[in-house]
Structure formats: structure tokens, C-alpha cells
Assembly symmetry: C2
Homo-oligomer: 317 residues x 2
């Protein structure tokens, strides 16, 4: 289905160059795909809407790259190697050719970075804001995908990279926080999915941190049937986040848009995790421990008190 008069030339100019072998140059109605031998596919989808998930005047290349990267982050947290993607673009009439060119250029750059191609898509008009969806497809050795469930009491809680930059970056772009280095705004606009981190056989469970560390760890605990305690002081913060000061710590722990990987790792696999992280130049940090019990997340505050962490503020400390 198509309803943009110029849809076909748009596709030819901007999206056909992104297409891979399975996509038949986007000249067919569907892509044909088989996982490599001994592998199974991992599929994930996210939608992004202008004014909700990105700012309407964000540079189009960064919008394209963010759309791709939030999905690659989901694949990375499952231990999957990305393969390709399908995409829909519902754009207001009058969206400029320059916007499409920038959007496609961002996707093209990231296709090279992550070794993937476009497999198919649909472009339509909308009377509303720009609305995007992307289905990312990766592959893992059969039976080795890392899930939210599977974590065990005694496993350590680990995260990649630094936590909180995305949420602080949004505050920067909204004029609520200074960002002399530009690091925080960049981290909000351009997630760094931890693609290539070989966590299969190392992590007992994993997911990406997109809705806020505490909330997402709660999801992992519920799926695995374990309790968690993390130490706020050990949560890795970037220099820019440290500079924001202690008033922003809560935002770092509960804000979203981190796109880091949260892992449960048995103590016996910690060396393997460090080796896998070193392989791709990613920093990993142990921030807490899982234990038997109801699936709550307890946070040790900087003052040493420990309590549950309710949405909307520190509480019960």
C-alpha cells in the first residue's frame, strides 16, 4: 500500500541504496532470508514518534541512527549479531527531500558501522507527526539467546558503559541542565548499542536499559524470580554526569534512554565477561548482587541507607 505520489522516486533515491541482497533492491514485496547455518533469528521492533521519542528539529541523520540503534541495543542484550532491518516511515506531506537524504545518510553510515542492510519497508503519509518503526533482525547460535529470565541468586548485576547520560541529555536539550562538553546531549541523540559483546554462555540473563536502570532491573528480577540490591555509588557515571552533581543521581538511576546492557553474571563467569568486554572495548561494571526473594530492587543510597526505590523519588530509605 502506498499513498505518497512521489513514493517510488523517494524510495529509489534514498532507500534503495540501503538495500541488501535479501531485499531484492526493494523491488519486491517481501524479503527472503535464512539464518546462517546453526543459528536462529532474533527479532525486535520499536516505534519512534517525533515529539515523543525524539525532538522534531533533531538532525535527520541522528534520527535515523537512533531509530536503528535502539533496536540494535535490544539485539545486543540478547547476544545477537545484527543482520538487517525492515522499516516504516510515515511522514507529513511536505517533508523535504533534504530531510529524507539526511535520514538515509545516517542509516547508511550505521549500516557500515554495524554490518547490516535494509531488507524492506513501507513509506506512507500522515496528517500527524513523523512516525517511524523499525524491526531489527539478528542471529545467535541456536539455543544461546540471553533472556530476561534465567538469572540466579548469587549472580552479580553488571552494566556496560555509563548510566544516566541519556536522561541528563534530554534535560540538557530541554534547557534544564548545562552540558559544557556536549557529551550528554550526544548520548541522548545517539545511543551506543553494545553490539558484538559476546555474552552467550556468560550472562545468565540480560536486557538493555532503555526505561531506566531501576525499572529495567525490576523487569529482569520479575522474569527471573530473584531480588536485587544495587549500590548507587558503584553505578558508573560519566564525567559529565558526575559534574551534574548529586541532585541528578536519581535521574541517572531512573531516567531512560541509556541503551546500555544490564546483565546477571555468575561469579564464575566474571573473568569471561571481562575478556568479552575487552574484546570490543566496552567497560563493564558490577553494581550489585541478586538474591533469593520477592522480585524487588533495593538501592543502597550514597549515605549508606538501603531501601526500595519507588518511581518518582527516593523513598523508604
Amino acid at each position: 500500500m502506498s499513498d505518497l505520489p512521489a513514493e517510488f522516486s523517494l524510495i529509489a533515491r534514498h532507500f534503495r541504496p540501503l538495500a541488501g541482497p535479501g531485499a531484492l533492491e526493494l523491488r519486491d514485496d517481501a524479503a527472503v532470508l535464512a539464518p546462517p547455518a546453526g543459528r536462529e533469528l532474533v527479532l525486535t521492533v520499536d516505534a519512534m514518534v517525533a515529539g515523543v521519542h525524539f525532538l522534531p528539529d533533531d538532525p535527520p541523520d541522528l534520527v535515523g541512527r537512533k531509530l536503528l540503534r535502539v533496536n540494535l541495543s535490544d539485539l545486543a542484550a540478547k547476544g545477537a549479531v545484527p543482520l538487517g532491518y525492515l522499516m516504516t516511515v510515515s511522514a507529513p506531506r511536505g517533508t523535504s527531500d533534504e530531510w529524507y537524504a539526511g535520514f538515509a545518510a545516517g542509516l547508511a553510515a550505521d549500516q557500515t558501522t554495524f554490518g547490516i542492510t535494509l531488507l524492506g519497508g513501507d513509506t506512507t503519509s500522515t496528517p500527524g507527526p513523523l512516525s517511524l518503526s523499525l524491526t531489527a533482525i539478528g542471529h545467535v547460535a541456536s539455543g544461546t539467546a540471553v533472556h530476561r529470565f534465567g538469572a540466579q541468586a548469587g549472580d552479580g548485576v553488571w552494566v556496560t558503559g555509563t548510566i544516566g547520560d541519556g536522561a541528563l541529555g534530554l534535560a540538557v536539550l530541554q534547557g534544564r541542565l548545562a552540558d559544557p562538553s556536549g557529551w550528554l546531549a550526544d548520548r541522548y541523540r545517539l545511543p551506543q548499542p553494545r553490539v558484538g559483546l559476546a555474552i552467550a554462555g556468560i550472562a545468565s540473563a540480560g536486557m538493555d536499559v532503555s526505561d531506566g536502570l531501576v525499572q529495567d532491573l525490576g523487569h529482569l528480577c520479575r522474569a527471573s524470580g530473584v531480588a536485587a540490591e544495587i549500590d548507587a555509588a558503584s553505578v558508573p557515571l560519566s564525567p559529565a554526569a558526575r559534574e551534574a552533581g548529586p541532585d541528578w543521581l536519581e535521574t541517572c538511576l531512573t531516567g531512560g534512554d541509556d541503551y546500555e546492557v544490564l546483565l546477571a553474571v555468575p561469579p564464575a563467569r566474571e573473568d569471561a565477561l571481562h575478556a568479552a568486554a575487552a574484546e570490543v572495548g566496552v567497560v563493564v561494571t558490577r553494581i550489585g548482587t541478586l538474591s533469593a526473594g520477592s522480585p524487588t530492587v533495593r538501592v543502597r543510597a550514597p549515605d549508606g541507607s538501603v531501601g526500595a526505590f519507588a518511581k518518582g523519588g527516593w523513598s523508604h530509605f
Copy 2:
């Protein structure tokens, strides 16, 4: 990423019951999937926006079913057996629980009809109209997918079902045409994808008719490097479309939303096509012939004259 406060309970109530084995009850960030032995996957995606692809007050169960069926139609035209789907729903705040319940009920009914399950999804809010996307996944015996390319001079041009009902149905819903039986409006609102029609090894090329018969046949001709001539009088029309009269014939041939399958079939495979169609109770009709030449579509008009068919009206006759 999620931003609807009630997202998790929405998913639990309405979408989790739709999830299949690979989706891990939608409790994970990604689905894991392998094609059956000897098969490869076929993937397609479409977006639908309220006010563009369906009417804002269309019954929600029909919106859900149409979203699914337009994609199943693409799979059917490739000869693929549907397996599952991923979906995004970007809904205005305040979208009622009843709307979601109806939407999910429509999907559930069609999951049973077509033997598929939900593999994953994302729900977000939007300040604009309801915006949906659906990625459908099917499978074919490896190497047997039917493409737009591959048609040969001498092949017959065939279609399933009846042509034009969808476009006339939209005219009915817009108050431009009477529809005493209700057939036309139903055909617009609820496509009948020709799932199960076993065209592998029978059709030399195929695609679904979604943008209008003449335009879509033009796509097939360009992809295959052949010319087409069809006989307007042999294009199968429903009794309701015939009743609309000759003034609506152009709409039938160039309107969209048919979701029938357009096929190129070598004469030697016509018996096999009839057998495959009988197997699933689908009518197939030969409407023309492909020949060597530049990829144009010529239409023999009811008055016997033949000419090219330009978008926007009969011309060059």
C-alpha cells in the same frame, strides 16, 4: 522504550494473550525464531495511519484484522505460509481500553484463521493519529519464493477473486456510491488475503494487488522486463461492482485495496494453477498475456480499442 504509564498493563491485558512460543509471552525484548527445516523466511512490513489507510471510526477489530491481512496478502503473493508477526501501536493518549480490546479481539480471530501468533511489539503514545505498523513473517521451501521478476513473454496474466471492490468500498464509505448488499464496504474494510494458494513452481512471477491492478501489473512488467496486454472485459468483477456500472470500471482497474494476487503463469502450468486454486476455494481468472517488449501495460477497453492506461483516466485509446 515505552512512555505510556499504563503500557505494561495494556500489554498484559490485550496483547500477551496473542503471543506465541517464540515471543516468550512478550516478557522479553526480542523473539527467537528459526524457519522450519528446509524453509527460508519471507518478511514484509506495512504501516497504516488513521485517516489515511483506514477511517478513524472504523471498528477496531476490523482495523486490527486489516493491518494483519494487508501483510498476509504480501506473503500470499510470494507463496509463503504465514508464521507470525511483530507490531507497533502508536496511539493517542486517551485511546480507550475498549478500543484496544476490540483491536486485540480482531487480531485474535485472525490469528486463529491464519494459524499465526504475535512475536513481539512496541506500544507508544503519539500526539497525532493512531499509527500502526506490522512486520509479517512467513516461510517457503528454500529457493521457491515467487518474485515480481521472472515473468516470461507468453505467460498468462491471472488474478484471484474479484478486482475493484476495495476501491468501490472506499467510495461507498465516503458516500459517493450506493452499496445495498454491504459487500463493497466489507471488502474495503476486511481484505481476504489468498493465504494457502500454493503458487510455488506454478507462477513465474507474482505480487499482490494493493495499489491498483494496472499500476501493480506495471511494476511486475518492469521487474520482469516484459509488456502486458489485459482485456478489461475479462477482469473479474463482483456482482456488486457490476451493479455500480461502467462508469466505475476505471476505478476498479486503477483503484487500490484489492489484496488479490496477480500472477504470471506459463500456459503449461495453468492446470496446476486451477488445481491449487480449487484446493483453497479461490477463483482464478486469466485477464491477459505478457509479451516481449518495453514494460508497458496495454488495456483492451470494453469498446475493443486498445491503448496505454495513464494514471488518472483512460487515455490513448
